[in-house]
């Protein structure tokens, strides 16, 4: 059963890969394909769904009028990718004998004359850029295929009858050109000897080769049914690998049969994506010379085909420099990937200014406060009036208009922020701990509203519970019949519509059919999102405490979801390895962010709502542009799955925490790692910057909350041009200096952290008696 089913899963993924670039292509293209007859069973299940995904995404974009205003194609590079992708789609259709669809697609995409040149695209596979992960992985398939069957990319590749999944065999076929299996150990150890004998400065760099070579050689042996040789190979060399690859090795060691390889998505991804290494030119030359001298073709082939070596000029990097950046499942970041411009600045808030002054006047008069404060506020306002040069255009992403209630809330926010405590190393925040007691069912996710008035918990028993964190109880809106009786003219109509009888401290929301892994409040506190193992994201009304929409699309567990800071949009990520961007009024996603090699474990919106960041089990972080769906930043360096992400309030920095117990700090503008905070001994599930960004709080499974001096961390970073250009960072080991405090909870893992508007730190978690 497994053998049959797993490929199906793979198919979804594959199709998702295909889809993403399509989102940025003009609409309608895929519509025709929908009618095409399906031949293979597996496709029948997955394909229509995904295609309809695509079409409705596109139509959604145009129909909504919100996201469609910006141009959907952004520049030339994506266009070229589009072509490549289209070719890949064509190829796929052809293989499945969907000739009619092929014709239509070709006609519509005007591809006739380009077909001949498409094999050239294969060479483009190695050249990475923004949308790297998905497009390139696809292209590498194409290129592999072309290597296997030269000049015949467009002729259907003979489909092995027992597999309903051609791409797998395409990928694996690369292994068929084998050397003598008994010599693998010799090859490897000769390289090992060589690397160990070179100068220290090169050794560190060349050691990076060990892991990818080891994996590829092992898989090659497995693929060619040399089970015992594979085992011996593993036994002999697995100990040499870096400790942070233990998880991968564990997967590998169990895998000894070709059949197993076909069902293992992680390793298929390893194949399809090229492992990226960054090596100085000197070291590379050294390696190349060595391999050529020894005629070690086996290894050279692997390096050529499966590795991407990013050669830079200059000094070789040190071991610590390399270690800080490596660890991901796909190697390091290619330098050019992080070169795209990111508008990390905050949006100005022009709409607020006018009403703020008016209403604030009133409010102040009411309270009889002196006018003095007002002038102060004015100055604050004028500061934010200046356009941040790094900020995106105000309407780059269409944002919902502010309602009156939002404006009121902004005013409240301004008022609160004048009372905010200025935090610093000398002035640490007080911490309030919200303990979930008797949470037998298992607390899995927590969120606070921005004003800290509500608290939501997601539980493993599929429920979502909302608590009021203030004495104000939660009330439902009255039923329609009762609402009819209300005097709609009265001033307190908003109060009157609430049903006093339903007042209670907490409300339960029932609807999911699996554990709830993520919850997120909308900024206006009217909605709550929850994502669950059942593959759906649900939108709940906090007025009626009922479910409004179930967003289906992931089809696999959805690990996290997060509302845009302006509402309306939200992002979700799950086991299907893609993150999706949704709008609350569209039941299908607006964007699909594909590229991660493993589950998307956590998702966050940038404060300016133009970007989305995702963390994954593949130990990488990607920043996506909401506008065009491109991956604009790709961060590696974590040694374990990433479980928490947080943007600094000014949008410039990103903090990420993972199962390895480390927090990494990133400069988004430069695309660099700028800090490493070591100390936690277990998975970090919660990260939050204080309201002014001076303090970073991290909460972990190890039952502690730690406060870090993020100001100092940001100030210390080297942002000279050289670092920015080469991407070679040298991290000072100053975790201890940056650690401002460590606070133990009472046997309670910290699931969530939140700074109130006045900078009181709220932590939440379920008490765990074991």
């Amino acid at each position: 059963i497994i053998r049959q089913k797993i490929p199906k899963k793979k198919k979804t993924y594959y199709a998702a890969h295909v889809m993403t670039p399509l989102l940025s292509a003009p609409g309608k293209k895929m519509a025709a394909v929908q009618d095409a007859p399906m031949e293979l069973d597996a496709e029948k299940e997955t394909k229509p769904e995904i295609l309809s995904d695509g079409t409705s995404n596109l139509s959604g974009n145009t129909a909504s009028g919100t996201l469609s205003s910006p141009p959907l194609t952004a520049g030339g590079a994506p266009k070229q990718e589009d072509q490549q992708t289209l070719i890949a789609v064509l190829q796929f259709l052809r293989r499945n004998k969907l000739t009619e669809s092929v014709e239509i697609l070709r006609r519509e995409a005007c591809l006739e004359d380009q077909e001949d040149s498409q094999t050239l695209d294969g060479s483009g596979g190695g050249k990475g850029d923004g949308d790297g992960g998905d497009a390139n992985s696809l292209l590498s398939r194409v290129s592999i295929a072309s290597a296997a069957a030269p000049q015949s990319t467009l002729t259907p590749i003979p489909v092995k009858s027992e597999y309903d999944q051609p791409d797998v065999s395409v990928v694996l076929s690369a292994y068929s050109q084998q050397g003598d299996p008994s010599l693998y150990q010799v090859y490897y150890s000769s390289l090992k000897n060589f690397i160990e004998s070179v100068l220290d400065c090169h050794r560190a760099e060349l050691s990076q080769l060990f892991y990818p070579l080891f994996v590829h050689m092992y898989l090659e042996l497995v693929y060619n049914n040399h089970e015992n040789k594979a085992k011996a190979f593993f036994e002999k060399f697995s100990g040499d690998q870096e400790c942070y690859y233990q998880d991968d090795l564990r997967i590998l060691c169990g895998l000894t049969k070709k059949e197993h390889l076909k069902g293992n998505e992680a390793l298929l991804d390893f194949r399809t994506s090229r492992f990226v290494l960054r090596i100085s030119r000197d070291s590379y030359q050294l390696l190349k010379r060595h391999l050529q001298e020894r005629h070690n073709n086996q290894i050279w082939n692997i390096i050529q085909e499966h590795l991407y070596i990013d050669i830079f000029d200059g000094m070789p990097r040190s071991k610590s420099q390399i270690d800080s950046m490596s660890g991901s499942f796909a190697g390091e970041t290619r330098r050019e990937v992080n070169k795209a411009k990111v508008f990390y600045g905050l949006l100005k808030e022009p709409e607020i200014e006018v009403p703020l002054d008016d209403e604030d006047d009133e409010a102040e008069n009411e309270e009889g406060k002196p006018k003095k404060k007002k002038t102060k506020k004015d100055s604050m306002g004028s500061k934010s009036k200046k356009q941040d040069p790094n900020a995106p255009q105000q309407n780059r992403i269409p944002l919902p208009e502010l309602k009156d209630s939002d404006k009121l809330d902004k005013i409240m926010y301004m008022k609160e922020s004048t009372k905010r405590i200025r935090l610093g190393p000398e002035n640490l925040p007080s911490i309030c701990f919200y303990s979930f007691l008797n949470a037998y069912q298992g607390l899995t996710a927590v969120d606070f509203t921005d004003d800290s008035s509500l608290l939501a918990g997601g539980f493993a028993d599929s429920t979502v519970r909302v608590w009021s964190a203030t004495p104000k109880k939660l009330r439902k809106v009255k039923s329609a019949a009762e609402l009819n009786l209300i005097d709609k003219e009265s001033d307190d109509v908003l109060e009157r519509i609430m049903d006093e009888k339903t007042a209670s401290e907490s409300k339960n929301l029932y609807g999911h059919s699996g554990p709830v892994y993520g919850v997120s409040f909308s900024p206006d506190r009217n909605y709550l999102l929850s994502s669950s193992e059942d593959g759906t994201v649900r939108l709940w009304s906090l007025q009626t405490f009922t479910c409004l929409v179930g967003y289906k699309g992931h089809n696999y567990p959805v690990w996290d979801t997060h509302f845009s800071p302006f509402g309306y949009y939200f992002v979700s990520g799950g086991h299907d390895r893609v993150a999706r961007l949704w709008a609350t009024d569209h039941y299908q996603p607006l964007r699909i962010f594909a590229g991660h090699l493993a589950d998307v474990t956590c998702t966050r919106f940038h404060p300016n709502s133009n970007y989305v960041v995702t963390g994954s089990t593949d130990r990488t972080i990607r920043l996506w542009d909401v506008l065009n769906g491109n991956c604009v930043r790709f961060f590696t360096g974590h040694k374990g799955p990433i479980h928490s992400l947080a943007f600094s309030p000014n949008g410039k920095f990103l903090a990420s925490g993972s199962t390895d117990g480390r927090v990494l700090l990133w400069d988004i503008g430069h695309g660099l790692m700028i800090g490493e905070l070591k100390g936690h001994t277990d998975t970090i599930y919660a990260l939050k910057f204080s309201r002014d960004g001076e303090i970073l709080a991290s909460g972990s499974m190890d039952n502690t909350v730690r406060l870090w001096d993020s100001m100092k961390a940001f100030d210390d970073m080297e942002t000279d041009d050289f670092t920015a250009a080469t991407g070679h960072i040298h991290l000072p080991d100053n975790s201890q200096e940056l650690l401002l405090g460590m606070y133990h909870s009472k046997s309670t893992p910290v699931t969530h952290l939140h700074f109130t508007r006045r900078n009181l730190l709220l932590a939440a978690g379920a008490y765990n008696s074991q």
């Binding site: 911490i431 007691l437 008797n438 493993a460």
Partner: protein, 647 residues
């Protein structure tokens, strides 16, 4: 196939568990399939791999559930997502014993048979699966830890350690046991212990046992005290247990307890105490359960309107309403009074011997109603005054009433002056909350109208109690004898501040003294006078009118019985008229439960000239009515004032 085993052995050399081909062959045989060696080997390897893969996948679910321990549930989810049948029947939290069979090399998971019938009929249904809740505590103020040791267990958690169990046993034993001193200690601890949250459901369960000990006043009392201690414990979050506690307390207030069959049992006091407790729970924890107030009112009203219920139940309903504040009285009791009056009057008018006991009960009810409506009138008048005054001067009476309530435990020793005391000890406390209570307004009946109607029922007794405007200072500072003189002076005028502050204390401590509205020698107060009262008297709020009553009675002794109502025609206390009056009274109030030590006071009045001129019954009828003490009252019944005890 032991999953955890597989997980654990991953760290070993082999890194994973292996399923030997023998196992595969065995399993195949058990389903009737013959496998060749080769096939079995292949299958075994495949099974191993699939197992590891599923384990690998299941760890995802564990991580996202933010757990450290891989559960069967996680594993099943991984299986489900790879479209494999899940493993059923291993959902238990406990580890499954994996046993070897001695004879052969056979290992198996112990799978005991469970007798479902036994399980279903088992009486030990697991209790205390408390609701999921969120508690907030400030862990670190300005980055510094608070005094509690960090890293310890939070206080409200549902795990019973050995220590807690021991504590539970000892506390319950002490409270329900014989030793009064032990009980006191236990109750005190229960009131202040911050670590007993886990035991709360158990205590609540014990308290719900009131229904089974309704024959034993003493036990009921103890259980009520337990309620009080729990309610007062600032570290306990009662949550929905409030409902359970309230129902237990309501039981004591309203039910015709088995103990009340014996007239010697003072279940009245129990009811008073329970009512007091009810109001306390309501004011302090009422917000935990929505709609609690209305539910309570409803059930009280139901009892009151049920003529089949015994009088003691009605009494409970009345004191319950009274304890809930004057608004409750206004909403429920007042509109109900005309209907109820007929029944009560019938009882009171029946002089047959067989009816004696019932009649006595009737007087109790009468007294309780009187106290309640009096408070109602007063508070209503007060609220009017306050409204008129623009809400300034914020209720000195209620504040001091509360103080008095606290202090009366201390102020017992000096015999406070008996008669200047309002009969509303409970109420004076309760109304501290009552004044600010948030209920919606009941359709207001104007004060004069209300008074008139009530007057039609109670006549003079009401008027007397209500009429005067006692400048509190009128009461002399202290001393047992002073009051009399003080009272004789018509109006000692300028209330000195000190006295006013002390007064409530005294009044509160007096609330058990017997009332005697039935006194024939009460002088009737013209309603017109009464109407003028509120404005003056009620600024003083909770302090009662008894001083003034005495004063007025002494000043107008002549008018005596002629106008008093039929129900109280008989002056049934002829005794006091003869001889030097010895006066005994009981201090009630909060410390009722402390076995009444030192709460009985005896004052003998030397026959001073003014005294002799006064008819002794003048004292008698000043005694506040509601008898509220358990044991002392019994003794007291034997005293020569026994006759008006019923009221």
């Amino acid at each position: 196939l032991d999953i955890t085993n597989a997980k654990m052995t991953e760290r070993e050399e082999r890194r994973f568990a292996e399923v030997p081909r023998e196992s595969i062959k065995l399993m195949a045989e058990s389903t009737g399939v013959e496998l060749s060696e080769e096939v079995a080997t292949l299958l075994a390897e495949d099974v191993c791999y699939r197992l590891r893969e599923a384990t690998q996948n299941s760890s995802q679910f564990m991580r996202h559930a933010k757990r450290r321990k891989l559960s069967v549930e996680d594993f099943n989810r991984a299986l489900r997502w790879s479209n494999t049948e899940t493993v059923c029947g291993y959902g238990a939290q406990d580890a499954l014993p994996f046993r070897p069979l001695k004879e052969g090399e056979l290992f198996f998971v112990e799978d005991r048979e469970i007798n479902l019938v036994e399980l279903a009929l088992a009486t030990n249904i697991p209790k205390g699966c408390a609701e999921t809740m969120v508690r907030v505590h400030v862990s670190y103020l300005d980055g510094k830890g608070n005094l509690e040791p960090q890293g310890t267990v939070p206080t409200a958690v549902q795990s019973l350690s050995e220590d807690l169990l021991k504590y539970y046993q000892q506390i319950t034993r002490a409270i329900l046991g014989e030793d009064p001193h032990l009980m006191k200690v236990a109750l005190l601890d229960l009131q202040s212990n911050s670590k007993i949250a886990a035991l709360l459901p158990y205590f609540v369960y014990v308290i719900s046992g009131v229904k089974s000990v309704s024959h034993d006043l003493d036990q009921l009392n103890r259980l009520l005290h337990m309620v009080k201690s729990l309610v007062q414990n600032p570290y306990l979050y009662l949550g929905s247990y409030v409902r359970s506690l309230v129902s237990s307390v309501m039981y004591c207030i309203l039910e015709p307890l088995a103990a009340s069959i014996n007239p010697l049992n003072d279940h009245w006091t129990l009811r008073d105490y329970a009512a007091l407790l009810l109001s306390h729970i309501f004011w302090t924890h009422g917000d935990l359960v929505s709609g609690l107030y209305h539910q309570i009112l409803l059930s009280l009203q139901k009892v009151l309107s049920d003529p089949v219920r015994p009088l003691c139940s009605h009494y409970g309903a009345v004191v319950g309403l009274h304890a809930l504040g004057w608004k409750a009285v206004e909403r429920v009791l007042y509109p109900h009074l005309p209907a109820y009056w007929a029944n009560l009057q019938a009882v009171l008018d029946d002089y047959s011997v067989s009816n004696a006991q019932v009649k006595a009960d009737g007087h109790k009810v009468y007294g309780a109603i009187l106290v309640a409506v009096e408070r109602l009138l007063k508070m209503k008048a007060l609220s009017l005054t306050l409204a008129a005054e623009g809400g300034c001067a914020g209720l000195p009476g209620t504040a001091t009433g509360a103080v008095g309530f606290r202090e009366n435990s201390l102020g017992l020793s000096p015999p406070p002056e008996p008669l200047s005391e309002p009969p509303l000890g409970i109420a004076s406390h309760l109304q501290a909350g009552g004044a600010g209570c948030p209920w919606e307004e009941w359709t207001p009946v104007s004060l004069p109208a209300m008074y008139c109607e009530l007057y039609s029922f109670f006549g003079d007794s009401l008027a007397v109690r209500f009429s005067t405007d006692p400048p509190l200072g009128g009461a002399p500072p202290s001393g047992s004898r002073q009051p009399l003189e003080g009272r004789k002076e018509p109006a000692s005028g300028a209330p000195n501040l000190e006295n006013t502050r002390k007064m409530p204390q005294l009044t509160a401590s007096m609330n058990i003294s017997p009332r005697q509205d039935g006194s024939p020698c009460m002088e009737p107060q013209p309603p017109s006078l009464a109407a003028t009262v509120p404005g003056r008297s009620l600024a003083r709020s909770s302090s009662s009118s008894s001083v003034s009553r005495s004063r007025s009675s002494s000043s107008r002794p002549g008018r005596s019985t002629s106008q008093s109502r039929d129900i109280f025609p008989k002056a049934r206390f002829p005794l006091p008229q003869v001889g030097p009056p010895a006066f005994s009274f009981i201090i009630g109030g909060r410390q009722m439960g402390r076995r009444c030590q030192g709460r009985r006071f005896q004052t003998s009045f030397t026959p001073t000239p003014p005294l002799t001129t006064l008819p002794p019954r003048a004292y008698a009828h000043k005694l506040p009515v509601i008898g509220r003490v358990s044991k002392p009252v019994r003794r007291w019944t034997c005293s020569h004032y026994s006759l008006h005890l019923p009221l």
